[in-house]
């Protein structure tokens, strides 16, 4: 009986592992597919945009294919896995060596961003979070005409530019993505005055939600432990 249970558990564990591998492969497929479907040439000037696209696709892939979890801590391995997948993609992207010194800060931002979106899925459906991510990523495009009509007030400009997750990644890459050919063509903001936030601000803002959630979940567990301790004594 015990032997049968062990076999069952072992089979179940193997199935879970297979499922996890499948999920990871789907994530990788999304990153590669997005990169291949969006036409960006191989010129060095396109390197930052190419890497931003791959990194954004990784966040969306995480939201679409990581299994839903009940705690943020449970998401951590999946967030780390996303970073590993990105490293794999970067390794075969010929543009990455051009930005080698900036990949470390970028991965730090992507990891923090992955934890932020994971934290959001504790309150919203992952697909909704993915939609919100894409919506905000394109904020410089859809908000451009509004800013233009309002004569580009500095506070609103900062809000729109800062709201885009692409800005956070671009700050880490030290890349002016709004002046890349695609954004210059499609975003009115690119031809108006704008300022990117600094790296410290980006990391602080991104870390706010995951740290709050972690603290909240930790505090929720604390009283139970104390209660258990009182009863046993």
């Amino acid at each position: 009986m015990v032997h049968t249970n062990l076999i069952r558990e072992s089979n179940a564990g193997r199935s879970l592992q297979m499922l996890a591998v499948l999920r990871l492969m789907l994530m990788l497929a999304v990153i590669v597919a997005v990169r291949m479907l969006v036409p960006i040439d191989n010129s060095p000037a396109q390197a930052p945009l190419s890497i931003l696209l791959e990194s954004s696709a990784a966040i969306v892939a995480l939201l679409l294919f990581a299994p839903e979890q009940r705690t943020l801590l449970a998401y951590v391995p999946w967030c780390v896995a996303v970073i590993a997948l990105l490293l794999l993609v970067y390794a075969i992207d010929p543009r990455v060596p051009l930005l080698m010194g900036r990949i470390g800060p970028l991965l730090l931002v992507v990891l923090t961003m992955a934890l932020t979106v994971a934290a959001l899925t504790l309150y919203l459906a992952p697909k909704s979070v993915a939609s919100l991510f894409i919506f905000l990523a394109l904020a410089p495009v859809w908000a451009g005409p509004v800013l233009e009509a309002l004569n580009n007030p500095a506070w609103l400009n900062r809000l729109v530019v800062g709201a885009s997750p692409l800005t956070a990644m671009a700050v880490a890459l030290d890349a002016d993505y709004l002046r890349s050919p695609w954004f210059y063509e499609h975003s009115a903001i690119a031809s108006m005055r704008y300022v990117y936030p600094d790296m410290t601000t980006v990391l602080a803002v991104l870390a706010l939600l995951p740290v709050s959630v972690l603290l909240h979940q930790y505090n929720k567990q604390q009283p139970k432990r104390e209660l258990t301790g009182d009863v046993s004594s």
Partner: protein, 362 residues
């Protein structure tokens, strides 16, 4: 013998008279000149009143350098001896000299900021800034896209200069860079000029000298090879004037077919009521005025005959237009479009004064 000498004298007098008449025809009308000088004074007064305590305008190296240039090149002949309103902006620029030679408060516009700072520092005529200028030149030369950046000479970006990061080059940025390099007497034999000519030519709608598939044949210029912010790869006024200026800076002479084609485009689309070819004619309007005056001043042909055979004294025209658009407080601003920072009165006022300075220069 005596009759012969008399004929020669008469001929000389006639020629001198003819030249004087042509020069008079080509220069700005006396009454308008006075009005234009007053408009410059009023613009400079606005700038002086809106200068920050640290000497900057809009906390921007680029706008500060342009404001400074507006003062230094004005008919007043301002210089450092005139006081803090000149020395403080210079100090502001010097405070933003970076270890790589760039002069900028931000990583976003390092080419523009450094280029216009070099032009302004050169306009001081003070040798004290020679080292800063030399380092700035090296920085600009390093921005030019070539083999060192992984581009071969057949690439559309080759020879271009962008905003100063990894992004694509464009004609506006390279025209500013070339202006800065020219103003600071960069070696005419430096490869920068030939490489720049390749990029500039690839931004022109002239298929004989542009190997890009999209190139049309109206002779005008677009923003960068294969792209115009206004429509497709259409030529427009601001960039055609910038293209003409870039060609002249890079050593092309007036007989160069690319220069002839650019000049013809400006003639055939001659207007100061709008930025011809731009969206609604209002986007980048003051950039157009600025570069229109600078390019025609550099081209040095005071009368321009448009496509309908009508001769225009462009100096009169640009002065009249800018005077008519000046606000009561002496400023200029584009109320219809904030694109390319034209909602910023400091920038647009500096540009307009520089345009008037170019028109007033005979």
């Amino acid at each position: 013998m005596r009759t012969g000498k008399l004929r020669v004298w008469l001929l000389c007098i006639l020629l001198a008279g003819g030249n004087a008449a042509a020069a008079e025809e080509a220069s700005m009308d006396a009454e308008l000149r006075e009005k234009a000088q007053r408009a410059v004074d009023s613009g400079l007064h606005y700038l002086r009143n809106n200068q920050a305590d640290n000497g900057s305008w809009s906390e921007s190296v680029g706008i500060t350098a342009l404001g400074l240039r507006a003062f230094l090149e004005s008919h007043r002949g301002y210089g450092e001896r005139d006081g803090a309103f000149i020395t403080r902006p210079i100090n502001y620029l010097l405070e933003h000299v970076n270890s790589d030679g760039s002069i900028s408060e931000t990583n976003q516009n390092r080419n523009y900021n450094t280029a216009v700072s070099l032009t302004a520092l050169a306009a001081t005529g003070n040798d004290k800034y020679a080292e800063v200028i030399e380092n700035g030149q090296k920085f600009l030369l390093g921005l030019q896209i070539d083999e060192g950046d992984g581009y071969e000479s057949d690439h559309a970006y080759y020879g271009g200069i962008g905003y100063g990061g990894d992004e694509r080059p464009d004609l506006s940025n390279i025209h500013m860079a070339l202006e800065g390099l020219k103003a600071t007497a960069t070696d005419p034999d430096d490869p920068v000029w030939d490489k720049a000519l390749m990029f500039v030519s690839r931004s022109q709608n002239r298929s004989e000298s542009n190997d890009q598939e999209w190139a049309a044949d109206d002779g005008g210029f677009t923003y960068m090879p294969g792209y115009s912010p206004h429509k497709g790869t259409a030529s427009y006024g601001g960039m055609t004037a910038a293209g003409l200026l870039s060609l002249l800076f890079a050593g092309a002479d007036k007989d160069d077919p690319r220069v002839v084609a650019a000049y013809d485009w400006i003639r055939n689309n001659y207007t100061l009521d709008e930025n011809p070819g731009a969206t609604d004619g209002i986007q980048g309007l003051y950039y157009y005025y600025n570069v229109f005056a600078k390019s025609l001043s550099a081209y040095d042909a005071p009368l321009m005959v448009d496509g309908n055979g009508v001769a225009h004294n462009w100096r009169n025209d640009i002065a009249s237009k800018l005077i008519s658009l000046q606000n009561k407080d002496g400023s200029w601003v584009n109320p219809d479009s904030p694109r390319w920072w034209e909602g910023n009165a400091m920038l647009v006022t500096a540009w307009s004064v520089i345009a008037l300075n170019s028109a007033l220069k005979q």
